[in-house]
Symmetry: C2
Subunit: 699 residues, 2 copies
Amino acid sequence: MNPNIFYNSHHSPAGAFASFTLGFKGASGGLGIELAGPACQNVFIGAESTADGVFKALPFYEDKQADNQPAGGGDRWQKAVINQFNDGEITREITPACDIWRAGELEFKIYTPFLPIPDPVWVNYAHPYIGKRHTLKTTVIPAVFVELTLDNTAHPHPRKAFFGYEGNDPYSAMRRISIDNKINGVGQGRITGIFTDGTAVDCALAFSASELLVDDIAGRLPFGLGTTGLTIMTAGANEKRTWRFAVCFYRGGVVTSGKEASYLYTRLFKNIEDVARYGLENFELYKQAADDFDKVILQNQPADERRFLLSQSIKSYYGSTQLLVDEDKKEPLWIVNEGAYRMINTLDLAADHLFFEMRMNPWAVRSILEQYAEDYSYYDDVKDGSGGRFPGGISFTHDMGVMNAFSPRFKSAYELSGLTGCYSYMTQEQLVNWILCAGVYWNGTGDGHWLKNHKRIITRCLTSMLNRDGPDDAVRDGVMDMDSCMTGGGAEITTYDNVDKALGQARRSSYIAVKCWAAYLALEKMFTALGLKELAAIAAKQAEKCAATILKYKRDAGIIPAHLEEGNEAMTLSVVDGLIFPYTMGMFDDSEFINKYNDFVNALKKHFETALAGGCKFDSGAWKMSLTSDNSWPSKTFLCQSVSEKIFGLGVDRQADKAHASWLLDPENAFFAYSDQIIAGKALGSKYYPRGVTCILWV
Amino acid sequence: MNPNIFYNSHHSPAGAFASFTLGFKGASGGLGIELAGPACQNVFIGAESTADGVFKALPFYEDKQADNQPAGGGDRWQKAVINQFNDGEITREITPACDIWRAGELEFKIYTPFLPIPDPVWVNYAHPYIGKRHTLKTTVIPAVFVELTLDNTAHPHPRKAFFGYEGNDPYSAMRRISIDNKINGVGQGRITGIFTDGTAVDCALAFSASELLVDDIAGRLPFGLGTTGLTIMTAGANEKRTWRFAVCFYRGGVVTSGKEASYLYTRLFKNIEDVARYGLENFELYKQAADDFDKVILQNQPADERRFLLSQSIKSYYGSTQLLVDEDKKEPLWIVNEGAYRMINTLDLAADHLFFEMRMNPWAVRSILEQYAEDYSYYDDVKDGSGGRFPGGISFTHDMGVMNAFSPRFKSAYELSGLTGCYSYMTQEQLVNWILCAGVYWNGTGDGHWLKNHKRIITRCLTSMLNRDGPDDAVRDGVMDMDSCMTGGGAEITTYDNVDKALGQARRSSYIAVKCWAAYLALEKMFTALGLKELAAIAAKQAEKCAATILKYKRDAGIIPAHLEEGNEAMTLSVVDGLIFPYTMGMFDDSEFINKYNDFVNALKKHFETALAGGCKFDSGAWKMSLTSDNSWPSKTFLCQSVSEKIFGLGVDRQADKAHASWLLDPENAFFAYSDQIIAGKALGSKYYPRGVTCILWV
């Protein structure tokens, strides 16, 4: 595994679409809200060295501060010397909910407690995960937590420590903040800030950090024009001292267009000062929660590379989350923004985030299902390859909009007609994704009330599934044959929109077929629970047909081609992805299911082993989703790994884990924290991305 | 005058701190809110040429659009060819409330109606200026207005026209907007947008403008990921057609820190769609208002260079204005942000903006006076040059904060102790500025109620004035002798904080002395009106002493030195600035005043003429505020010009006007619209600045 420690991590509250990003050298991190990438601010974390008047800092700023001396009058402002620690002096320890930097006698710990959020619709909901019951306010606080320690026990003179940043919001100024004379901090406008409840802390602004570290800055404290804000503390002679910080975010008012919604936390916190006060009052609770979270996620003591991947993925997931309240309907909206692309609740990602949220916040899955059901479904016709047009049915849009702009109802921001590749419709893929999210949500929560309320739409989903297979039962083989007429003269694609044709084309795709099989199984189970035996039987029969068709196209070597068509020889690993859904719904514990699909699962296992041995691997040992593309997606690889380990019973491919971790740690990729389109080792898309949280399936 | 027409102008509503900036080539303008400079967006304004499928546009975008073709699938998107008009094809005509671009058969007119705003405290206040009575809602609408005309009468085929932009807000997406199917537009998030009520207008997003100008874009209309938004219209064969646009801005919620305040317009408009609807419904009213405004400002038919300077200055002033409501006190707050520096209501600028606001919105002057009186005054001690410390008195801070961050009460963002130049205290200067604003406000409005309510603070101002002259009457000579102890070991400065020592040092400054003289006269008049005869007499006596002292230091050649000290030989034009205040208060119509100060005014005139002839002029004919500095401030030059013309009765120096206009038109300066620190012809500070509105005194 790449030994690089200078990679960015998203340190994020839940649902605030905010991040205190840190780790990549230079002005590469900082406090961001709603951004497509790291905020790219200078962050100053350091302490006085034992050499008089010289300071040392972690390397998270550009080592050239602007020289804004006052013009005229001949005044010169004093400056202290700040050097960056050498790489060799710095260590880093990352866990899912912590990130610890140590350099010399300085320690800087970031805690992201990731408390499960009580269902905002039923806030007295006792959450199953951590076991403790926290209030909605406690869990949605838009803050992360920091402890900065300076161990001065070996030195007989007092030494300063500091933490601060230079914001870059285009609209508002850096400022000093004092709350009731108990909490002090520096921030930018109303949106970001760092606050401490430590005593005798100086908070000040200047044009450069070095101006604030000279001996006497009493006269500089009122200055409001400075662009850099620091909190400056002192550890006494022979004293070890720790200061606690809340790194806070706040965006007030309506933030979205199309649909008017505000952050839910604005209902509970009046402004960023209120966040800081509450965060510091409950600091120990949050610290404990971070510890508890780590214990759960790391319960199986994963090897270093998996620990890193879990930590990095979970942090990046939270950085994209956004919990809003629809101002018209007064309903909570759970949103996961699509990383650097910032599309709202992209449904093919939701089907991957599902496994994480079923552990943390199952109501979040329900929220997304309902948002799609209510505003982002549509009905289409379908077409065969020879000019025929037939009834289609319901499906769901690719997304709900982008960058805080909700699309008009029933439209995604992404999908266009007339295309055969990227930006085409994903009608079949999103239909199965919604069904699978519904099945897993209902199965995992036992929320029969929800199921009953959605009987009609689930029934429509079955009709739509059937119609995409073929216009009548006689020609149906369980596999998608009909493209949506929404594509005009184009064709449907899958979530793998820019990998290659083997994974990109939806029609007759074996990857889609296995997901259809899983969707039919989910439908069967839901219809059975609803007492709709006839529909359950139709779904069951379609699942059988689908499995039989897939087996029919199996080649002699055991390979299932990417497209279930004569002559197709393309080879992908992703065929097996869909197995994870019946597994998650507990079907693999059911002997009847096992008996029925034993051959099918074994055939997929055989395919998988053959493909992996037959070229679906990079030289580094990293897995390759499609033989004919160098574009591999770690999130989907993690899914495949889970299928391999949990369903096929194969061992952990530690070499692959190391290679995947090394991708993210590559200095060329490490700026964007977690990235999910790695083309021959380089991140070329899907940066700063939430999707890697599929690795929760390892736990 | 420089013939360059490609200079940026702020096209701004009143009080929205927003601008549709346009005129400098490249991605140099656009729709900005609360910014330090132009938004630097691509703006697309153009039409189909008569050559088939080729478009021509004004040069307000980078001529290299990103080539975001969809990856994978092999789809290629069509693009039209857009060429920029050649410089020679383009003409521009600017007036205070309009800006008209013509190129080929295209005409693009921007209207900024600048309606006087009814006193928000007394919204039924009948305003004296334009004579018509408009509602608060009508006048504070955060929009400017555009007419785009394509004259296709000579062509037998339909031709398209377009207007759009590529926003760059970091937090929100570009979007298409349709309001009740009557108004359509494109915008970014909730904050900026362009809207038209034209029929059959296509609004769409793409990665480049050229994708949206191909023949059939019906299939592209729903796309939400595009970064560029266009409105696309068609003039029929042999048809001349005009489309009307509202270019709108909106910032919801609390926008300031320190004090919580929101834009007043958010009380009257729900969101940007609401602004667009109202703006287009009342389009003709706004167009008429722009025409009316121009008629008033240009009533004396000024020469081209003055017309340009008036137009450019007034537009830049409005771009910095911000009308908020304090959310705690529910009081309106009028704010002028200090251009690129964005300091809030800098008081030394307020004393210059005064003349414009007394014509437009006298209540805005009162608002600033009261904000200072309530939250941004302070009391100090003063010091002599030899260690003595004496009682001082009230003064006012330099500003109220910066970039939407109000400073703590009684503190500016700017002032620091221990300095002798930039960022030092301006205690004496701001004290006279507040007194002069008060005097001009009361005198101009006859608001005796206000005067009575402020009797106490005005009395304190006199005490403070006296104490800065000297600790007792015996040593007082009407001129500032004592620096504020707020300066620590430093010294007070004037508004000319980085010109040179001649203008920068406040103590014994003749520039400050003339302003003190004016302030004593204002105090005398106010005390008389309040029936406080004794105080009026003290003020009158101080004014006399001050004038006598200034005369005493007059050198043989008639020069009044920059500092009223033996041996000082520095020469400035700005000595005469302060004369404008008694002139504005009508004192020059009073024969008693004329008799009393005839010698004094003549001495200042003699000084002025001698200085102008003796080196206070650049080679270009531009005036120089201080002989020993190349840093000249047009706003203050305009003041001096007004004194020269209105008080000294000297003629218009047209060569100077041409040189000042040429400064702003210089391609190196023209990006920042109006700039106010021109160092040897180059703008090096005070960019995108409101202060040039002193030229209203020419009218």
